[in-house]
C-alpha cells in the first residue's frame, strides 16, 4: 500500500491502465493514508470515502469490460474546498457556509467526473481563500508535513499539504495572488496557476473574479500537466473563459527543452526581503539551466514595486462585492438577533458571526476603496498599476521566453508567527501577485531546502498569456536537473510525519 501512495499520478495511471493496481486499491490506499496522518496535518475538511470508492469500483469494472477510459481514470484527487461539489459539503473554509451542499458541480468537477477520477475529499484553506498560511480557516490550521509547527502556505495549504503528505497524488487549488504557488513552494510540491481564462471558474467560489484561477497541485511537473489538460479548455458558463484549446501540455512536459531558451531573471523579485537560503537555491538553479543550454538574461519590471499595493485594493474591492451574497437569506448560516429581527439586523448578525477577521478586514478595505469619492484614488489607480505591470511583462517577454524568480521570499514560517501582522503576511505573495495582475501563467516547483532551516523553497517560472506549455517544457527540465542533483524527488527527504497512527 505505502508503495502506491508514493507513486506520481503518471506512474499510478500506468499501473491502473496495465491493471497492475486496481482503482479501488489505489483509492483505498490514499484513504488509509488520510486516516493515518490527517489527524496531524488537517489537510481535509471532508473525506469523501464512499463516493470515491464507488467511482473507483466503476473504473475497475469498466476497465475489466475493456472500455476506453481517460488516462487518469481511477487516479484519486483532492479538491480545495473553495470549489463546489455535488454530494459533498462546500465551506470555503468559512463558518458562514458550514453544512452547505451545492446543488451543482463546478465545471472542473464535472471534468474530473467525466475522466472518472475518484474525489478523495475537500481540502482546507484560508477562509474564502484569504490568507497565505491556511491559519484563517474557520476549521483550524493545516500543518506543514515538513514541520508540523509550521504553516503549509495559503490559501491552498490543504491541497499542497495533502499532496506533500502523500494523502493524494493530485489536488485542485485556486490562485488569486499565489494561493497555489506559494503553498507549493513551502511544502516542496508543484503548483500551476494557468493563464487567466484557461480553466473555467464556474463553481469556484469567487474571491476576486479578475484574479482567481483554478489550477493543478501535484508532486511532479508532468502530473500537473496531466491534470491541467483534464480541467482546462473553454466553458460556455464562464464568459471570461478563453476559447483556445488547452494545448499539448503533457507533451510539453514530456519533451522538456531549454537549449537556446532565454530565461529572464526579474531583478525586482530578488534581494532584500528574500531569505538567504531561498536566494542560494535560486542562483544554483540558474546555473543548472545555463549548463543545460539556456541563456540567462536579467530583465527589469520597475512597476512591480506597486503590485502588492494595487493588489490589496483590487482584490478586496472585488471580494467586498463577491461576498455580499452571504447574508443568511438564501443559503448558509442565518443568525437572527434578539429583539425585532429586521432584515438589516439579520444580515448584519449573520455576517458578523459567519465571517472571520481577515474576511471582514478585506470587505472593509474593499468597500472603502470603491466608495464614492475614493474610487478614482484607490480602485482607479490600482487598475492603472495593473496596466503598468502588464506593460512591464510585455517588455520583459521581448527579452526572454520565460521569466524566473523565487516563488516566495521565505520558507514556511511558524504557525501564529505572522497572524497579528497582516502586512507581513501579505508580503509572502510579493513574487506571485504580478502574474495574477497580468493574467499570465505561473508554475512553482521544488527548488531544494534552505540552508538555514532545511525547509523547502520554490522557484517560479512565468510565461506570456496562453503559453502555459512553455512552463511545462522548462519546468520539466529544471525538475529533472534538480532531482539528478538530489538523487531523487525532494519529498523523499521529508521527515516521517509525527503522530502517525
Amino acid at each position: 500500500m505505502s508503495e502506491i501512495i508514493r507513486l506520481s499520478a503518471a506512474a499510478l495511471a500506468q499501473k491502473l491502465q496495465s491493471r497492475e493496481v486496481s482503482a479501488v486499491d489505489a483509492t483505498q490506499a490514499h484513504l488509509d493514508r488520510i486516516a493515518a496522518v490527517d489527524g496531524s496535518i488537517n489537510a481535509f475538511l471532508h473525506v469523501n470515502t464512499q463516493e470515491a470508492l464507488l467511482v473507483a469500483a466503476e473504473v475497475d469494472k469498466a476497465r475489466a469490460d475493456g472500455d476506453t477510459l481517460h488516462p487518469l481514470a481511477g487516479v484519486p484527487i483532492a479538491v480545495k474546498d473553495l470549489i463546489v461539489t455535488k454530494g459533498q459539503p462546500t465551506t470555503a473554509g468559512s463558518k458562514i457556509l458550514e453544512g452547505w451542499h451545492s446543488p451543482y458541480d463546478a465545471t472542473v468537477i464535472r471534468r474530473l467526473r467525466e475522466a472518472r477520477m475518484p474525489i478523495l475529499g475537500k481540502t482546507n484553506l484560508d477562509e474564502f481563500a484569504m490568507g497565505s498560511s491556511t491559519e484563517h480557516s474557520a476549521y483550524g490550521p493545516t500543518r506543514n508535513p515538513w514541520d508540523l509547527d509550521r504553516i503549509p502556505g495559503g490559501s491552498g495549504g490543504g491541497s499542497a499539504a495533502a499532496v506533500a503528505a502523500f494523502e493524494a497524488p493530485l489536488a485542485l487549488g485556486t490562485d488569486t495572488g499565489g494561493s497555489i504557488r506559494q503553498p507549493g513552494a513551502v511544502t516542496g510540491t508543484v503548483g500551476v496557476k494557468p493563464t487567466y481564462g484557461g480553466v473555467s471558474r464556474y463553481g469556484a467560489i469567487a474571491m476576486a473574479s479578475s484574479l482567481d484561477q483554478i489550477g493543478p497541485v501535484s508532486r511532479t511537473v508532468l502530473d500537473s500537466a496531466l491534470l491541467h489538460e483534464v480541467i482546462g479548455g473553454h466553458d460556455p458558463h464562464d464568459s471570461t473563459s478563453l476559447t483556445d484549446p488547452v494545448g499539448a501540455l503533457v507533451e510539453a512536459a514530456r519533451r522538456g527543452e531549454v537549449k537556446g531558451l532565454r530565461v529572464g531573471v526579474i531583478k525586482e523579485l530578488s534581494g532584500e526581503g528574500y531569505q538567504t537560503g531561498v536566494l542560494n537555491r535560486f542562483a544554483e538553479s540558474l546555473d543548472l539551466l545555463r549548463s543545460a543550454g539556456a541563456e540567462i538574461v536579467e530583465v527589469s519590471c520597475p512597476n512591480f514595486k506597486y503590485a502588492l499595493g494595487a493588489y490589496y485594493l483590487i482584490m478586496p474591492s472585488e471580494a467586498s462585492s463577491n461576498l455580499a451574497k452571504y447574508d443568511g437569506v438564501r443559503f448558509g448560516l442565518r443568525v437572527v438577533p434578539e429583539g425585532a429581527p429586521t432584515i438589516e439586523r439579520v444580515m448584519g448578525a449573520t455576517r458578523a458571526a459567519g465571517f472571520g477577521d481577515e474576511v471582514k478586514r478585506r470587505i472593509i478595505l474593499g468597500t472603502y476603496a470603491l466608495s464614492a469619492g475614493y474610487y478614482d484614488a484607490y480602485y482607479g489607480s490600482a487598475q492603472k498599476v495593473r496596466t503598468l505591470i502588464q506593460r512591464d511583462f510585455n517588455a520583459a517577454f521581448t527579452q526572454a521566453d520565460v521569466l524566473i524568480s523565487p516563488t516566495a521570499p521565505t520558507t514556511a514560517f511558524r504557525l501564529g508567527e505572522k497572524l497579528d501582522d497582516p502586512l507581513a503576511m501579505y508580503l509572502n505573495d510579493v513574487a506571485t501577485i504580478p502574474a495574477n495582475m497580468a493574467g499570465i501563467p505561473g508554475l512553482s516547483l521544488p527548488n531544494g531546502l534552505a540552508d538555514e532551516d532545511n525547509l523547502p523553497v520554490g522557484i517560479q517560472l512565468l510565461a506570456p498569456a496562453r503559453q502555459d506549455a512553455r512552463l511545462y517544457r522548462v519546468g520539466a527540465v529544471l525538475e529533472s536537473l534538480l532531482e539528478d542533483k538530489w538523487g531523487g524527488p525532494l519529498l523523499a527527504q521529508a521527515p516521517e510525519i509525527a503522530g502517525v497512527k
Partner: protein, 504 residues
C-alpha cells in the same frame, strides 16, 4: 407612517408661477425566452421560485453569461429611439443590500451603456409635437419580488415577515433615461403620459417586450422639478417611483407639480427624495431621501467581458426594425381615408393592426372598421379581453361580408353566423346552412307575412296610403318578426309600398 396630506397649489396657479422640468426612467422588461444572465425561463405568473437556476439565486461559485438576444433587443430599442450604439459597452455592479437582489448587487450598465444620445418625437392629441431627448438606454437585470406579510402598509416596515420570489430576478431590463424635458409648460402631464405611451408602443412594435404595464413589463419613474418662470436653473427634483399606468403617469406629474409649487411658495426647499405614488388618493408620499451621493460602489463587472458591436451587426438589426409606429399610423390613416376622429377611435380600441390585416384580406377599410369597432369590440368588452383575442380572423370577416353583400344574410343574421363560427360549428356558409339562417328572398312567403302585418295594423296601413311613408317601419318590423329576421328588410319595404300602391 401616518399619511400626511401635503399642501398643493392649483395647477393653474402653479403654471402661472413656475415652469416644470420632467425626466423619465422607463424600465422595459424584455420578452426573451431566457433571463439576462442565465438559462432560466423568463416567464410571468409561474409558481414562485421555479424559474430559477443557481445563477439566479446567486449561489456560491456561479457566473453570469450575457443573453445575446437581450443584447439585440436592447440595440433595437436604442435604434428605434434614434440612439447611437456603443461599439463597446460594459456591465457594472451596483452594490446594495436588499433581499430581492440575490447577489446583493445588481448587474447593470453604468458609464458605458449600450445606447446613448437619442431623441423621439412625441405627438400630443392636438398634433403638437415635442422632441424628447434620450440620454441613454442601458441593459440590466430585474430584481426578485417581495411580498410583505402582516403589518398595515404592505411595505417592509412593520411587516411580520416577507416572502421572496426569484422568478423575476435576472429578467432582462432595458432602462431608458431621458435628458431633462423643458418647455412643456402646462402640457407637462399630457406629455408625460404621451411619452410613456410612445415608449410602450415602440417596444411592443419592435416585438422585444410584451409591453403590458399591468404586468410591470413597462414601469416608469417620473422626475419632476419646478423653476420660477423666467429662470433657467433646474430646481430640485423628486423621483416618483413605479408609476405603472398611463393615467397614473399623468396624474402623478400633475400632483408633483402642484405639491412642489406649494412647497416653493411657502419659501421652503424641495427635498430631493423618492416619492411613492398612491393611485387611490392620487397623491404621493415621501420615500427614502435620495441624493446624488447615494453610494452604490459601482465598478466594472469582472465576470463579464465587454459587449462589442460592429457596423454589420447593427445594420443587420436596423434592417430588421419594423416601421416606426408614428409613421405607420400616418400611412394607414391616409390609405384608409379615415377622419382623425375615426382613426383615433380605432387606435384607442387597439384594433389598428386587426383592421390593417382585414383590409389586406380583401374588404374595404369602412367594412373592416365597422366590424372591429362594432360587433367585435362589443363582444370583447363583454368577454373582458382584447378584440384581437376573440379569435375572429380577417378571413372570417371577409366571408361574412361576402355573404351580406350577396344578400344571402343581413347584418343581424351575420351576428348569429359569427356566434356559430366562434362556437366551432364550421365556416360561415356551413353555419348559415346548418342553422337555416338564409335571408328569405322568395316573395311568396313575404307577401303572406306582409298581408298578415297590414291586417294586424290597419290604422298604420291607412296612414301609409295617406302618404305617411315613414310609418312603413312599423309594418316592416311586423314582417321581420313574423319571418324571425330572415327577410331582407329592404325588399320587405319595397313590397309593402307596392302592395299599398304608394311611391317609395
Amino acid at each position: 407612517m401616518t399619511a400626511v396630506h401635503d399642501e398643493v397649489l392649483s395647477f393653474d396657479e402653479a403654471m402661472e408661477k413656475y415652469d416644470p422640468a420632467l425626466g423619465f426612467e422607463v424600465h422595459v422588461e424584455l420578452n426573451t425566452k431566457t433571463k439576462m444572465f442565465s438559462s432560466a425561463p423568463n416567464g410571468f405568473g409561474d409558481t414562485p421560485n421555479t424559474n430559477i437556476t443557481p445563477v439566479d439565486l446567486g449561489l456560491p461559485g456561479v457566473l453570469p453569461v450575457v443573453n445575446r438576444v437581450a443584447v439585440e433587443s436592447s440595440i433595437k430599442i436604442g435604434l428605434a429611439l434614434g440612439c447611437k450604439i456603443a461599439e463597446r459597452s460594459h456591465f457594472a455592479r451596483k452594490n446594495y443590500f436588499y433581499p430581492d437582489t440575490p447577489k446583493n448587487f445588481q448587474t447593470s450598465q453604468y458609464d458605458e451603456p449600450i445606447a446613448y444620445d437619442g431623441a423621439i418625437d412625441i405627438e400630443l392629441a392636438d398634433g403638437t409635437v415635442f422632441t424628447v431627448e434620450i440620454e441613454r438606454a442601458h441593459m440590466e437585470e430585474d430584481a426578485g419580488k417581495l411580498t410583505h406579510m402582516g403589518g398595515a402598509t404592505g411595505r417592509i416596515q412593520g411587516a411580520e415577515f416577507s416572502l421572496v420570489d426569484y422568478n423575476r430576478a435576472g429578467v432582462p431590463l432595458v432602462e431608458i433615461v431621458t435628458k431633462p424635458i423643458l418647455g412643456a409648460g402646462r402640457r407637462a402631464p399630457e406629455l408625460a403620459k404621451a411619452y410613456v405611451a410612445a415608449i410602450r408602443e415602440i417596444v411592443k412594435n419592435l416585438g422585444v417586450s410584451d409591453a403590458r404595464m399591468e404586468r410591470g413589463n413597462v414601469r416608469c419613474d417620473a422626475n419632476v422639478s419646478l423653476m420660477p418662470k423666467g429662470s433657467t436653473t433646474l430646481g430640485t427634483r423628486t423621483e416618483t417611483k413605479n408609476v405603472n399606468s398611463l393615467r397614473s403617469v399623468e396624474h402623478a406629474v400633475t400632483y408633483e407639480i402642484q405639491r412642489h409649487a406649494a412647497v416653493l411658495d411657502s419659501g421652503a426647499a424641495i427635498v430631493q427624495e423618492t416619492r411613492h405614488w398612491h393611485e387611490d388618493t392620487r397623491s404621493t408620499t415621501a420615500g427614502r431621501p435620495k441624493s446624488d451621493a447615494d453610494d452604490y460602489r459601482y465598478f466594472p463587472e469582472p465576470d463579464l467581458v465587454p459587449v462589442v458591436t460592429n457596423d454589420a451587426w447593427i445594420e443587420k438589426l436596423r434592417s430588421e426594425l419594423p416601421e416606426p409606429p408614428a409613421e405607420r399610423r400616418k400611412r394607414l390613416q391616409a390609405d384608409w381615408g379615415y377622419s382623425d376622429a375615426e382613426f383615433r377611435d380605432v387606435v384607442n380600441a387597439g384594433v389598428m393592426s386587426s383592421v390593417e390585416d382585414t383590409v389586406a384580406a380583401g374588404v374595404s377599410p369602412a367594412v373592416a372598421r365597422k366590424w372591429w369597432m362594432g360587433e367585435i369590440s362589443r363582444r370583447a368588452k363583454i368577454a373582458d379581453v382584447e378584440p384581437a383575442e376573440l379569435g375572429v380572423t380577417p378571413e372570417l370577416i371577409v366571408e361574412l361580408n361576402a355573404l351580406i353583400e350577396s344578400g344571402k344574410i343581413n347584418d343581424k343574421l351575420s351576428r348569429e353566423v359569427l356566434d356559430g363560427v366562434l362556437a366551432g360549428e364550421g365556416t360561415p356558409a356551413q353555419v348559415v346552412e346548418a342553422r337555416g339562417l338564409a335571408v328569405v328572398s322568395d316573395d311568396g312567403p313575404l307577401l303572406e307575412a306582409i298581408d298578415g302585418a297590414l291586417a294586424a295594423q290597419p290604422d298604420v296601413a291607412e296612414k301609409i296610403r295617406g302618404g305617411k311613408v315613414q310609418a312603413v317601419g312599423a309594418i316592416v318590423g311586423g314582417v321581420m318578426k313574423a319571418t324571425r329576421g330572415q327577410a331582407d328588410a329592404g325588399r320587405v319595404r319595397e313590397l309593402i309600398l307596392q302592395r299599398l300602391g304608394v311611391e317609395g
